[in-house]
């Protein structure tokens, strides 16, 4: 009898629901949403804390519970996600919300599994976010928003100040040298001489060096229009990139030892690195030698170097949040959470504690950031990082290529090809020197015109294979 009554009521409600504009949630029957992210350490700490605040305030009131799950690294997350999307046996259910780069989001979106976030936002709300971030999330080239920006990062340079000061005092090197790539190479050579053969500089996310460098030198390597990519590889431009990385690397002025350059700075193998602003937070406060002893260091935060005589350019990076296609209630609940998370105060809170940059226009104004940092008593390295990040967003052209088919594979080639060529050149130079050749001659042989031409040909081939 009761069931009949319920059924009757449900039938009566049906036409009402069809015209209801907003989805109704109930605090008594909360929507529990799984969220996969790749934050660790301090970033995970502030993320979890904000989620907890949400669950206990807005979530409690509206009936939304967010369950965050850290999937380790961004690649782990992408792999697990693709497994879930392909319904591989033993894989987890698709999460309701997940962090993803444009490449992964593009792939999942093509499978029709991604909800349109714009459907749950007004035009005014969408306008509050930085245009370039929103543009990146409109994967379909229309108004549909598939990737929601929650925090962005770019690249900057971090230097072991303690070591630099000692080096600079002896040699007269100036920090201003580190504003151009040519200057970095010069400083690295000076340091090599001064330190008796130690490398000065290294970098992660090598693809950014190539893509941003090429763009800065006038050629957009992956020019994407309407999902169609045109590949532009310019020999002169690539040569300048080569001369400012492969040559110093083969000469031992640049280096790469552990898995990440930050590891190398931690263990005293390198003095300076270029890395993500979000990773800059982990720049060590001490160097650990191979025998485990440590000494404290300070750091210098600097904007990303540029090629001499070019306009400043930097990578726009940081994953966005994607909402899986499910029920209107779940999708709506997910967007409620994302909007809450990017409210100015929450977004700044997250940024200030994680080294990411906020995504709303107002939250990016330097005065707003400065006031928020004053309020939270943030100073020292973290403040420098945020300030440098903010400086880069306002004075650099921020770039990220639009998603395209096989974009992940193509990026892999860019990420590894020249870096591996540099590593090979270094090994071969060592071999030639051990075999009795003059070092200068060996370096010239391994990085000169012929070597470059060979590599460029290989690079084009690899790229063609990746894009097939």
């Amino acid at each position: 009898m009761k069931k009949m009554l319920c059924l009757l009521l449900a039938l009566l409600m049906l036409p009402l629901c069809a015209f209801a504009e907003t989805v109704k949630l109930s605090p008594d029957d909360p929507q529990v949403l799984t969220l996969w992210h790749y934050y660790n350490g301090a970033q995970q700490q502030i993320f979890d804390q904000l989620v907890l605040t949400f669950n206990e305030t807005v979530g409690m009131e509206k009936g939304i519970i967010i369950e965050p799950v850290s999937q380790g690294g961004v690649n782990d997350l992408a792999d697990k996600l693709m497994d879930s999307a392909n319904r591989k046996t033993g894989s987890d259910k698709m999460p309701d919300i997940f962090a993803a780069y444009a490449d992964t989001a593009h792939a999942v979106n093509k499978m029709g599994l991604v909800a349109d976030i714009a459907a749950y936002m007004t035009k005014e709300e969408q306008n509050e976010y930085m245009d370039s971030y929103m543009r990146e999330g409109r994967l379909d080239g229309n108004d549909a928003l598939k990737v929601f920006p929650i925090a962005k990062s770019t690249e900057m340079m971090m230097v072991n100040k303690t070591e630099w000061d000692a080096f600079a005092a002896d040699t007269g090197a100036d920090v201003s040298m580190l504003s151009t790539w040519e200057g970095v190479v010069e400083a690295a050579e000076m340091y090599y001489e001064w330190s008796g053969g130690k490398a000065f500089f290294g970098r992660d996310a090598f693809a950014n060096y190539i893509l941003i460098g090429s763009l800065q030198l006038g050629v957009e390597m992956f020019a994407v229009e309407n999902g169609e990519m045109t590949l532009n590889v310019n020999g002169d431009v690539m040569r300048r990139l080569w001369d400012n990385y492969v040559v110093p690397y083969a000469s031992g002025w640049f280096g790469a030892y552990g898995r990440y350059r930050s590891d190398d700075v931690k263990t005293g193998q390198l003095v300076a690195l270029v890395g993500s602003t979000s990773g800059a937070l982990y720049f060590p406060t001490e160097v650990t030698r191979d025998d485990g002893t440590t000494y404290p260091i300070e750091c210098i935060s600097l904007p990303l170097p540029n090629f001499e005589g070019t306009d400043p350019c930097a990578a726009q990076q940081g994953a966005g949040m994607v909402v899986s296609k499910s029920t209107p209630e779940k999708e709506y609940a997910a967007v409620v959470f994302l909007k809450w998370f990017t409210q100015e105060e929450n977004n700044i809170d997250f940024s200030l504690n994680s080294g990411y940059l906020p995504v709303k226009k107002t939250a990016n104004e330097p005065e707003v950031l400065a006031a928020a940092m004053d309020a939270q008593g943030i100073d020292g390295m973290l403040r420098e990082i945020i300030e440098i990040g903010s400086q880069i967003t306002s004075t650099y052209r921020l770039y990220t290529n639009n998603a395209f088919d096989n974009g992940y594979e193509a990026r892999q080639v860019v990420d590894t090809s020249m870096a591996e060529a540099a590593e090979r050149a270094l090994r071969e130079v060592e071999d030639l020197v051990n075999a009795g050749m003059e070092r200068e001659a060996a370096i010239e042989l391994m990085t000169g015109d012929d070597a470059f031409a060979r590599w460029l040909e290989d690079f084009r081939k690899e790229m063609n294979t990746a894009l097939k």
Binding site: P30, Q45, E67, M130, D131, G258, T267, G292, T293, K361
Partner: protein
């Protein structure tokens, strides 16, 4: 009667209640039998058993994972121990040397590490570690050598070691194995008291224990943070590493992050689809459960994240527990299953790990609750049916009684009552008694009527009973209302007739309860009052004719003007209010006329006030010609002013004719003065029309007054109609003129700053100072200028522009809101000159600001070239610059550009509007650009409101931008949004790098 009411009850109820009691008793017995028979209990325990089964099966899978896989370290422990032994042998040292030789330990761990990676992959744990019984860093005795590896997602493996992190271990381990360092990486282990149970518990057990089997000391540790600051928690299993002689070489262990355990507990339909949750924890001696980790949405709904201990509040039938949620105060049922992780007689056998299956009580008991509901509904239905049957039976018995009651109620009290027999003895006796009572009552009524006649009072009375057809009316009542012709019987009139007479007679109300009647040719005033009681209405009528006549005389005296005998102002107000209110229908077309005698003062002073008075009196009398068929109210307002309201006309035309004639008649009359001369009436009048001009009295009065005022102002002795256009114009002018004077006198204006942005630098470059009047009557600078021009006060405005504008800029600078390098565009009025003293004043006060000033000049029709040139010379002489404003409109064309030497030209907003869509505008702008560029004149685009407009204008090469898109005018100078600046930079960048 009233006293009995409390105990009164119907026969119906007296029968019904016992019947209902019997039904309830029967149903009660049924429900009781369901309870005692255990049906409900069985349903509940079935549900709890289901929960047990779920907990049981999860316990089994988890236990086999924990024992069979994670803690299955014997083989790895053996190979690690043998690597250590071999290393010691090769180095020619003993295990004791590890205590002091850090380099030795580092070397050992470098060799051990690959084995750990292998076990990490095979063992399905999220972490593995080996801690040597030896020093980590030379000369730092509180450090321990070791390696700790972490793989947050053991379900997927990477072919390289990209998914593995080094938590502890020397740098060479990271480089050799190509494993990246964790954010909280340290080269060696150090232990603080708080989070080192996993280590010291094992150490303590080994020191006390006697067994030589390493796994007898194995210890499962509750989740904790390995590194300070790392939010990731993990539980560990660790056991000692023995060498062959039983010496402790170190410790080997694994960890499982809480995230990973939760993901294992989450699998299965119990958590995913049902509302179940699992908790892994340790049961204390008091029965409470210390939570290691919990999985499931329902747990999160019921408990806070920071709860670490679950305290059961009662034990249920089958040993399940009931626990109250700390978050919502509702119950969860829990089935607690022990995990047998330790062998008996081992060090930690008293640590009772448990796996708890939990489900909200309400969802677990949903079926049982549904059954209960079904039983409940059945009971209610049964009771309802019983009630209906019982009431039907009772009704059968009481029907004849009800019929009798009806007869009595509907009986005519004016006649004898005879009741039907019911054939129930008791009730028939009662009926006889009622008949007797009725007979007595009839006799009493006859007596009452006689008494009423004998009193002789002029009071009429009627009584109407609501359920009767006849109305009692006393003879006086009938007489007063002259109802003689109405047929009646025994003072009773039929209700229908009574109603008709009352409606006919009561038509003319005098006031609230007094009515006017024409009875037999005489005017009567009767006061009517009625009282309504339960079932009847009683009314009285009293003759108050004398009283009312007296009052009417008094009122008349009060309304008459003593001098003229016509209505006074008060009467006019009362009568017109009545007319505009209650009697509005009678208004038709009306005219309100105000008249004012022109020469009263002259008469008063020349011939004395008596003459003046008789002049007024005669005039009032003459106004009589306006009165026509009761459609007029003529009154004296005061002194020499009169009001006339002529109303109820069909057309304006007819009334106009009437007024014209009457006015001519009045104008031709006059009085004979004491000196014998004839003095004609001369008066000025204004009139306003209803409804044409206004619908309210106050407005009509105001308008008629205005019309009269105009007549007196320019053509005395006439009567003129109100002109609304004139009125609007004049009243606005009167207000606005005053406003302009206030604005100028008190400098009631301020300046708004609209940002101007340089395209080249994408930075803020200057502001245009825009005048903002602070008087509400003048909303914008346009209105100010228009009015000032009309009033010949443009020069004042020009002065204010300079002084107030510069002063405003000075204030903003002092407050730090305006930079010294910002350009300040100031609008000058071309036709106005500045005299020497003014120029000197500006130089005295603002000489430092002048280099920032850009003078905006316009080429207007009445331009005085001399003035403009002098101003330009002045501003240039002081370091400022000149801009041509509104270029492209009206007079400011190419010619101006040739004639007026300037640094800047401002393209008018009308050219910028939609320039991205309009090829004509584009052509014009292009033309201007080439001309301006050739002469080194910078171009500024005004009124940029969209991104497209901005992009197009930048495309044409304009140098500066101004408009809402870049920034609204604000009281304080504002910065330009960074996003806008980035857009400009983006656009120029793309223009310079078309190939990118």
């Amino acid at each position: 009667m009233a006293r009995n009411k409390q105990r009164e009850s119907t026969i119906f109820m007296r029968l019904l209640v016992p019947l209902v009691v019997i039904v309830l008793l029967t149903i009660g017995l049924l429900v009781l039998s369901l309870n005692v028979g255990g049906t409900f209990r069985d349903l509940n325990s079935n549900a709890l058993n289901m929960l047990d089964e779920r907990a049981q099966s999860k316990r089994q899978s988890l236990q086999s994972e924990m024992l069979g896989r994670w803690s299955n370290l014997d083989a790895t422990a053996e190979s690690v121990a043998s690597i250590i032994r071999r290393k010691l042998t090769v180095a020619g040292v003993s295990a004791d040397d590890m205590k002091t030789d850090a380099a030795l330990n580092a070397d050992i761990m470098l060799s051990v590490a690959p084995t750990l990676v292998t076990q990490l992959r095979a063992g399905g744990t999220t972490g593995i570690f080996v801690i040597l019984n030896g020093i980590g860093v030379a000369d730092q005795p509180d450090t321990w050598a070791g390696v700790y590896l972490r793989d947050n997602d053991p379900t997927t493996n990477s072919s390289t070691n990209s998914d593995v992190l080094l938590l502890r271990g020397m740098p060479p381990v990271s480089r050799e194995l190509d494993i990246s360092l964790d954010s909280f990486w340290k080269a060696s282990f150090t232990f603080n008291e708080a989070d080192s149970n996993f280590f010291y518990k094992v150490v303590g057990a080994v020191m006390e224990g006697t067994s030589s089997e390493a796994r007898h000391y194995g210890y499962w540790c509750m989740p904790f943070q390995i590194s300070e600051g790392d939010p990731l928690k993990a539980m560990t299993y660790a056991m000692p590493l023995f060498d062959r002689d039983g010496n402790v070489l170190g410790m080997i262990g694994v960890d499982m992050t809480t995230n990973y355990i939760i993901s294992l507990l989450n699998s299965g339909e119990f958590v995913r689809e049902a509302t179940g949750s699992y908790v892994l924890g340790m049961q204390q001696a008091d029965g409470s459960i210390q939570v290691a980790c919990a999985a499931g949405a329902s747990y999160k709904q019921y408990f806070n994240a920071e709860d670490t201990v679950l305290v059961p509040d009662q034990k249920l039938d089958n040993n399940s527990l009931s626990i109250t949620g700390s978050r919502n105060g509702r119950q969860m049922y829990a089935s607690v299953m022990p995990l047998n992780l330790y062998d008996s007689n081992t060090a930690f056998e008293n640590d009772q790990w448990v796996l708890v299956g939990m489900q909200p009580a309400e969802s677990l008991m949903a079926f049982s609750a549904q059954f209960r509901n079904v039983v409940g509904v059945s009971v209610v239905v049964a009771i309802a049916i019983s009630l209906i049957l019982a009431s039907l039976a009772s009704g059968q018995l009481i029907r004849p009684i009800k019929r009798l009651v009806k007869q009595v109620e509907s009986a005519d009290p004016g006649s004898e009552l005879t009741l039907e027999k019911t054939n129930i003895a008791e009730i028939d006796t009662l009926a006889n008694a009622i008949e007797t009572l009725n007979h007595d009552a009839l006799e009493d009524a006859a007596r009452f009527s006689t008494i009423m006649q004998m009193t002789g009072l002029q009071v009429g009375v009627f009584e109407l009973k609501k359920d009767e057809d006849q109305v009692f009316c006393s003879p006086e009542f009938v007489n007063m209302l002259d109802m003689g012709e109405v047929a009646r019987q025994n003072d009773m009139i039929s209700r229908e007739t009574f109603g008709r007479v009352m409606r006919d007679r009561f038509t003319n109300a005098y006031d609230e309860d007094v009515w006017r009647f024409q009875v037999r040719g005489e005017e009567l005033y009767l006061r009517y009052k009625q009282v309504e009681r339960d079932d009847r209405i009683v009314g009285t009528l009293v003759d108050v004719t004398d009283e009312i006549n007296t009052r009417i005389d008094l009122e008349r005296a009060r309304d008459i003007d003593a001098l003229t005998g016509i209505h006074n102002r008060r009467a006019f107000a009362r009568l017109t209010q009545d007319l505009f209110g209650r009697r509005r229908d009678e208004m038709g077309v009306s005219a309100l006329i105000m008249v004012d005698l022109d020469n009263l003062k002259f008469l008063n002073s020349t011939y004395g006030h008596d003459t003046g008075d008789s002049f007024i009196r005669a005039f009032a009398h003459a106004l009589g010609v306006f009165e026509q068929e009761n459609h007029s109210i003529v009154a004296r307002r005061s002194g020499d002013e009169f009001y006339m309201l002529l109303y109820g006309y069909d057309s304006r035309h007819a009334l106009e004719d009437h007024i014209d004639t009457a006015w001519q008649q009045v104008s031709s009359q006059g009085i004979v003065l004491p000196d014998g001369s004839f003095y004609r009436f001369r008066a000025s009048g204004g009139m306003a029309w209803y409804p044409d001009d206004a619908a309210t009295l106050s407005k009509l009065l105001h308008y008629a007054d205005f019309a009269m005022y105009k007549v007196k102002q320019d053509a005395k002795g006439n009567l003129r109609t109100f002109d609304s256009a004139l009125f609007n114009e004049e009243s606005y002018l009167i207000d606005a003129r005053a406003a302009l004077d206030r604005l100028i006198d008190n400098q009631l204006l301020h300046y708004a700053y609209q940002p101007i942005v340089s395209v080249k630098t994408a930075e803020l470059w200057g502001y245009e100072l825009l005048m903002r009047p602070d008087v509400p009557e003048l909303k914008n600078p346009g209105a100010v200028l228009r009015l000032a021009k009309e009033q010949g006060k443009l020069h004042h405005i020009e002065r204010l522009t300079w002084f107030c504008g510069l002063e405003s800029a000075r204030v903003m600078m002092d407050r730090g809101l305006l930079n010294r390098d910002m350009k300040l565009f100031i609008n000058s009025i071309a036709s106005q000159k500045m005299d020497l003293t003014e120029r000197q004043h500006i130089i005295d006060c603002y000489t430092d600001l002048l280099p920032q000033v850009v003078l905006e000049v316009t080429e207007a029709e009445d331009n005085n070239k001399g003035f403009t040139e002098r101003k330009m010379k002045f501003i240039r002489g002081n370091g400022g610059e000149v801009a041509i404003d509104d270029y492209g409109t009206g007079y400011n064309s190419e010619l101006a550009l040739v004639e007026i030497p300037c640094e800047y030209v401002k393209v008018d907003a009308s050219f910028v509007r939609d320039v991205d869509k309009d090829p004509n505008k584009q052509a014009l702008v292009k033309n201007l650009m080439s001309y301006a560029k050739a002469r080194g004149i910078a171009v500024l685009a005004e009124g940029v409101e969209t991104r497209n407009e901005m992009e197009t204008m930048i495309g044409f090469g304009v140098d500066y931008l101004q408009g809402f898109y870049l920034g609204m005018p604000r009281e304080k100078p504002q910065q330009v949004l960074q996003s806008i600046r980035m857009e400009i930079r983006d656009i120029t960048w793309r223009m310079q790098h078309p190939q990118a």
